[in-house]
């Protein structure tokens, strides 16, 4: 029932992108997003498109998986496009009734659409090729300098990885409780909004109880293994940059420099 939800899911396959250090991928995603806002001309977007397509091809993840993530933002995308299209002042191209489509509006709408979809596809390249655990590992390592400002980096990373770990478990649990209540004649589908909200009680109460129970069990298990936070904690597989990571950083720097040059000269 709930198996169709894809929350930046990991796609298991073997590729160069999969093997990269998560830190490289995090930095690259950040750079790519920034680059989308740096460039303002069509040439710039073409460069971003080429970069993105090459990354997708290198990742060996089928293209339709990338597009799946787009489904979630279709509404926002349409919203942005429509508003930009009709509400940007400027030279009128077409006018229907009271609505006017301007040249500037058209340009802005298309740009926004491209920007948003690149943003989503770009970040899904990262989530599809990196397991949640290595992602949080990378984040922890990258954010380590913040420790100087007393930011509990390790704790935040730990919380993130636990939260990510619990998503599939809780989805499964939801599915089970839903079925159990349907077997007792519960109806989650028909009725108006209030009726539907009320119908959620038999699902949400057991779900919360189970989440708390699991959290409790996990806390106890961690304590029993003497977990005490990040101080002096070592890793079984510490992150180390390999040759390919240095190459990746090089490619990334080149791409970013290109974007800046396009911005300045074109």
């Amino acid at each position: 029932m709930l198996r169709d939800i894809t929350l930046g899911q990991y796609y298991q396959t073997d590729s160069v992108i999969h093997k990269l250090d998560p830190r490289v991928k995090l930095v690259a995603t950040l750079c790519f997003i920034v680059s989308l806002f740096v460039v303002k001309s069509w040439v710039g977007y073409a460069a971003a498109a080429v970069f993105l397509v090459v990354m997708i091809r290198l990742s060996h993840v089928p293209f339709r998986y990338m597009v799946k993530g787009m489904k979630a933002i279709v509404f926002i995308l349409l919203f942005t496009v429509v508003f930009n299209l009709f509400l940007t002042p400027g030279e009128t191209l077409v006018s229907v009734w009271k609505l006017r489509i301007t040249k500037e509006g058209l340009r802005l709408a298309v740009m926004m659409a491209v920007r948003l979809s690149f943003l989503i596809v770009g970040s899904s390249v990262m989530t599809l090729t990196t397991t949640p655990n290595s992602l949080t590992d990378g984040m922890e390592k990258l954010l380590k300098p913040l420790k100087i400002f007393k930011v509990p980096v390790h704790e935040v990373a730990m919380m993130m990885s636990i939260a990510l770990r619990f998503i599939p478990i809780l989805l499964e649990e939801t599915d089970k409780i839903m079925k159990a209540q349907i077997a007792r004649g519960a109806d989650f589908e028909s009725g108006n909004l209030i009726k539907k909200a009320k119908a959620m009680v038999p699902l949400l109460v057991p779900l919360f109880i189970s989440a708390f129970r699991r959290a409790n069990d996990l806390a106890m298990a961690m304590e029993a293994r003497c977990y005490r936070g990040g101080e002096h904690r070592t890793k079984m597989k510490p992150l180390r940059y390999a040759a390919r990571d240095r190459v990746a950083y090089g490619v990334l720097a080149a791409y970013f420099a290109l974007c800046i040059m396009i911005r300045i000269w074109l």
Binding site: R184, P206, I209, S210
Partner: protein, 288 residues
């Protein structure tokens, strides 16, 4: 009045690469009033199978008929089906949500659209059927012990007055005493009301004492479908699929191999005792 499964297939995960075949060409007839044990190793498809019986899962191939009607016909009333085929899930106490035990048991009959009076009568009767004392009725279900919670959850399904009661691993996580109590209660209920009961379990020991028919599942297919005696005679094959016959079967086999003239097709400790005594008597007679 019966459930018929006609060449039922079920595949998890649709058309992706991760598709898993959970049921493979399962055909069964479940007539009224039988006490059936559905046995299988973890992942053999037994839970998937029972979720088909009340229409929670739709087979990817084949048909399921309840009282002669295809339950996946577009105009079939699924809610009615679910009141007739009651399914108690594994760890059913995890589905409790109401403020007190009595209201939780009322949830099922209330969903059927019954009057308040009828709902309460049924809830009361169901709680009595599972042997819960009156003093617990207005306590929070979360304050009860594990075994009591499970009874409440089973009562929640019984209150819908099903013709068929399916229990998925009703004894999982209970201590031996709690296990025997629950199983005895179910057997008593079966004897009193004559409903069909399907007991899902991975333990032959649990079901051997109670059921009249055993269905053994393996890798999504029906391996055996016979009386307990007949099924346990295949004890070597059962071991191969990760199950085991009751311990008495092994004892009787061992006795026979060591030269004692006993019949090996007993299923309970009581029967084994009688059989051994008989063999001993025969032995002493021939000795004289």
């Amino acid at each position: 009045m019966s459930i018929i499964l006609d060449h039922v297939d079920y595949v998890y995960g649709g058309d992706t690469a991760l598709a898993v075949r959970a049921l493979n060409d399962v055909s069964l007839v479940i007539p009224d009033g039988q006490f059936i044990g559905l046995i299988g190793h973890t992942g053999s498809g037994k839970s998937t199978l029972v979720q088909h019986l009340n229409g929670l899962l739709k087979p990817t191939g084949g048909h399921i008929y309840f009282n002669g009607e295809d339950i996946h016909d577009s105009d079939y009333d699924k809610k009615k089906l679910r009141s007739k085929v009651g399914l108690v899930f594994q760890y059913p106490e995890h589905q409790l949500f109401e403020v007190d035990v009595f209201s939780d048991v009322c949830f099922g009959p209330k969903n059927l659209g019954l009057s308040k009076k009828e709902t309460e009568l049924r809830a009361y009767a169901a709680l009595k059927q599972v042997g819960l004392e009156d003093e617990y009725f207005y306590q929070s279900p979360f304050d009860l012990s594990g075994g009591q919670k499970r009874r409440v959850a089973i009562a929640g399904v019984l209150a819908m007055k099903p013709d068929v009661l399916i229990l998925d691993e009703p004894t999982a996580g209970l201590d031996p005493k709690g296990r025997d109590e629950i199983l005895d209660q179910i057997a008593k209920l079966k004897a009193e009301t004559g409903i069909t009961v399907i007991l899902v379990s991975h333990s032959m020991e649990d079901v051997a004492k109670y059921v009249e028919r055993i269905i053994v599942m393996d890798h999504g297919s029906v391996l055996y479908d016979d009386t307990p005696k007949a099924v346990f005679s295949h004890y070597r094959k059962l071991e191969e699929v990760g199950l085991a016959a009751p311990q008495v079967t092994y004892i009787m086999q061992a006795l026979r191999q060591s030269g004692m003239p006993v019949e090996t097709d007993v299923t309970t400790i009581g029967e084994a005792r009688d059989e051994i005594l008989k063999a001993l008597q025969r032995g002493s007679k021939s000795g004289n």
